[in-house]
Every structure is written in C-alpha cells, then in structure tokens.
Symmetry: C2
Subunit: 276 residues, 2 copies
Amino acid sequence: MDDLETRELRYFVAVAEELHFGRAATRLGIAQPPLSRAITQLERRLGVRLLDRDRRGAELTDAGRVLLREARTALDAVAAAARRTRRAGDPERPLVLVTKAGASHELLRALLDVLADPVEVLLCEVGEQAHRLRDGQADVALMHRPFDDLAGFDTADLHTESQVAIVPAAHPLAASESLTMAEVSHVPDLPIARWPRLDGTYPDGPGPEVRTQSQLAQLVALGRTLLVIPASSRAWQWPEHVAVPVVDAPDVTTLLAWPPGAPVESLVRSAAKLSF
Amino acid sequence: MDDLETRELRYFVAVAEELHFGRAATRLGIAQPPLSRAITQLERRLGVRLLDRDRRGAELTDAGRVLLREARTALDAVAAAARRTRRAGDPERPLVLVTKAGASHELLRALLDVLADPVEVLLCEVGEQAHRLRDGQADVALMHRPFDDLAGFDTADLHTESQVAIVPAAHPLAASESLTMAEVSHVPDLPIARWPRLDGTYPDGPGPEVRTQSQLAQLVALGRTLLVIPASSRAWQWPEHVAVPVVDAPDVTTLLAWPPGAPVESLVRSAAKLSF
DNA sequence: AAGCTCTGATACCTACCGGGTATTAGGCTT
DNA sequence: AAGCCTAATACCCGGTAGGTATCAGAGCTT
C-alpha cells in the first residue's frame, strides 16, 4: 500500500472543485491528458471510483466526497509543516497572531503592549482563524467561545463579557433599555444574517447572505438585519447603530488558541497578566 | 513555493528517527546516496538546516524538531485520507471502533448489542486511540475524560463514574475502606508508574516505566506500584489486586470520540439510548 | 603517526514516469 | 448528419529519483 503523494491530492482537489478536467488542468498549469491519467491512476491505487464522468464534466461519488474533505485537511497539514519549519529556522521570527478584523480592539492593543517580543498581527474574516492556524499561516489566534471552532487547539481564556444586540438606530427596538434572546430572535423585519458554511454554501433562511464584517455592518446601518455580539466590539459603533444589552445571551469568552506544540508559552504567560 | 511531497516527509521522518542516513535508507528500502541528496534538497527548498551532520550520525536542529512533529501529523492526515476513501468506496464497510485493551468491558458489550450495523472492534494500548483516529485506522473511539487527549474530535458522553485505587493485596493501604488523593499520591514504596510521552521518552520520577497495561498489572501484583482508575475497569481485578474507593478523585467520563465528518450518526444515536 | 572504519557527500549513469502534443471516442446540440 | 464539447488514448521527450562506485573527513586502534 504505497502512500499517496501530495501532488495527487492537489490534482484531485482541483478536479473535485472544478468538476471539469480541462478547467482543473488549466488551474494547475498542466495539460488535460496528464491530469486524466493521474486521476485514473489515483482511482486504481485506492481501488475506488472517485468521479462519475458524464457527458458534461464530472460528478463526485461518495468516496470522492470523502477524499475531498480528507485531502484538504491533509494538504493543510503539509503546508503547515513547510511554513512552520521555515519559520523555525528564522531566529528573528516574530509570532503571527491572527484575529477577526474589527474584534477586541482594546484587548489586542493591551496584549501587544504587554508583550516583550515582536508579534505580527494578521487580520482575517470571521471563522477563518482556525484555518490559518491549521495551515501554518499563524501561530496563535484570538478567538471567541462559544462562536469559534476550537477543536484541536490548546486555549487560554483572556476575558469574559456579556453580549449586546446591534440594531439600526431607526428601528423601534433601539429604544429598549434591554432585550432578551426571545425578543431578538424572530423580528420579522430584521432577520438574522446567514454566514457561509465551511464548504462555501449558505444555510436556508430569510436573512441576507453575508461574507465579511463590513458587509454586515452596512446591512445593519441600512436597517436590514440585526446581530448579537460581545459588548466590547467597538467596530460596530457606527452612528447608525445602537447597542442594546441582551440580558439572557450566553457570555462570550475571548481566548488565545494555538496548535499543540506552538512556541507560545511566553506570550500566554504575558497575556495571563492582563486584567480585564 | 512548491509544495512538499509526502515522499520527502517520509524520508525526513526516517532520518530524524534513526539519526543515521544509512539505517534510515535501509528502512526505506533505498540506497544511502539518494537519501542524502533528498534531504539536502529538502533543506534547500525549505531554506533551513534540518540536521547537523556529525562524525557519528546526525542530530536534529530546532527546525528539524519542528518538521519532525509537523511531518508526522501531515503523514497521518495523508494516510487517513487514503484509508477513509478506500473504506468509503466499500459498501459493506463496517465501522471500526477502537478502545483501550481491557477497559469498559460491560459498556462495550452493551454498546455492541444495541447496534444494528456490524462494528469492527480494534484494541490498542493506552493513549493510542487518538492516533488511530487521526491516521484513519478507526472511525470512532471509546475514550476517557479527563485522561485522553480529545483535541480535534467530536464527542458524546456515555457514562460517568468515580475512581478506585488498585493496590497490591499485601500492602497496608489495601485494608482501608476508602482513600484520598493525598494519601495515594505520595506513597514512598508505591510510586506512580510513568507512561511514555508522545515522542517515546519518559518523564522523570521514581516510578517504574511502563508501556502496556499488562506490564502495569504485573507491577501492581508484584507490589511495585499503585494506580487510580475508573471503578468499572474489571481487567484489573486480579487476586493480587485490591480496589479501594478514592473519595476525592475526579470523576471519569467514558465517551465516544470521532473526527468531525465521520459517518457515526446512527452509532451515536444508538449509544445515547444506553442507560448506565 | 599511519591506517582502519565509520560516517555522509559527490559523481555519474540509467530508467521510470510525469508532462507535452496529437488524436480518438462518445454524447449532446443544432 | 455535422459540429461541438467532453474525457480518454497513443506516443514521445526530458527531468529526476534511484542505483553503483567513489571520495572525504573524523575518530579509533595499533
């Protein structure tokens, strides 16, 4: 049972994503025939049919869907190995900390002030931090429980806070002193926005589809949606926004997360001294 | 930045484990010169020195240690991709459940009785379950919190129980009705056994080094060590052993763990019906 | 100190295979 | 039926992984 090569996995992922040998080959920078041959050979080595070739392109089999998911995580792990090794060889390496754009400003500022060593800050979109950690683009992330997927990471809690609803200033709800989750959950004219899943598709529902924080901020200002977020997220305090405490929303904990083995001991020790 | 190939990672892991190019080459089934060349090329591609070659063999650099750890997880992920894809293509595939040898007999029996679909049971040594899940040899594991490393897995609790101390029948402690952690922790003539870490080395301490459950059972029977384990672990009830409740030991939860995406919904649903 | 031995590195060759172009085969549209 | 789009096949070429032979240097041995 000879092992797979990452080249084969990259090729398969390209085909599985494009569902078209020609386009996949173009994306990979090779010609179509070698790609067809590589996939056929991969299927023979695994003893499994991965794609049903149709008159118009191709379609994934059940086994193909499994391999697509597994191949992506495997390729992430290989890329992480290369990135982390390169960085380990650089004596000047700064740690890379990844955080959602626009979240936890004060805490991040305070954290950077406390640290002796230089830290590079990488900003990403909501839900992307885990991926950056897994593929080695970052060493440590600022994440939020219970929102983010913390599976596979070591963590250190920094700060716990309650949540507020951000509603359009012009909306009747904006006049309330406080709200409950029940009041906030089913406001017909302010449906909750829908975020893409890991595979890029959107869940069903009445709310608008959003992909970035700035889209969402815009939609709130336009009176199209509302959201419930930690009280300290000042990025949301536009003039058109009003923050109303939600008394029964679960507390949110801001924390540091890192893959087991990351060289973050001194950072975590410094962070633990922060008082919030 | 061209990606690494798994062949290069396999080669590096072999050299890093053997710390000797000749032996590593033999293990890989190739000659020494191509291996030397492959490692040199890997170092050039990463721009990092991985090994310090000495008069007698080789030694890992800091970057080399990073790559060894990362490469092992990456190779596990690749192997898992192949195994899971092969199994996904087999319509007859039974789920593979892995568990520590000798743990949770009754619960496992009850679980298998409840399941409609066939399940293959794989036994492994203590602490090995996570590895079997990660490299695709198993689909789901019986594990124990807070003992096992659950990072990266979804879980479903099955059963919570208290712990007992297993002591040699001939030892004075065996006469006690109950014990506390303080009484059990520092018994000079019964030092706690030491398990190997993930890298195979042992922590310091006075206790005996053990690698398997049967070694440990033997050592207890010989009056050389004691241990604290869940009350139901009947594998330990030899005539030479006495179980004494430890009143303040943390409760242990037996649970199912599986990598996100594993096809275990129906198994977990069946398991949830078990009453323990 | 000379030589032996063990290490990894170098030189050079071969053969496999990954990738290219040209073409075929089949299904749908028109 | 002609034309097109798809993926598969046929065939060739070149890079490179792997082989053998050899080198180079650092301990030992004597």
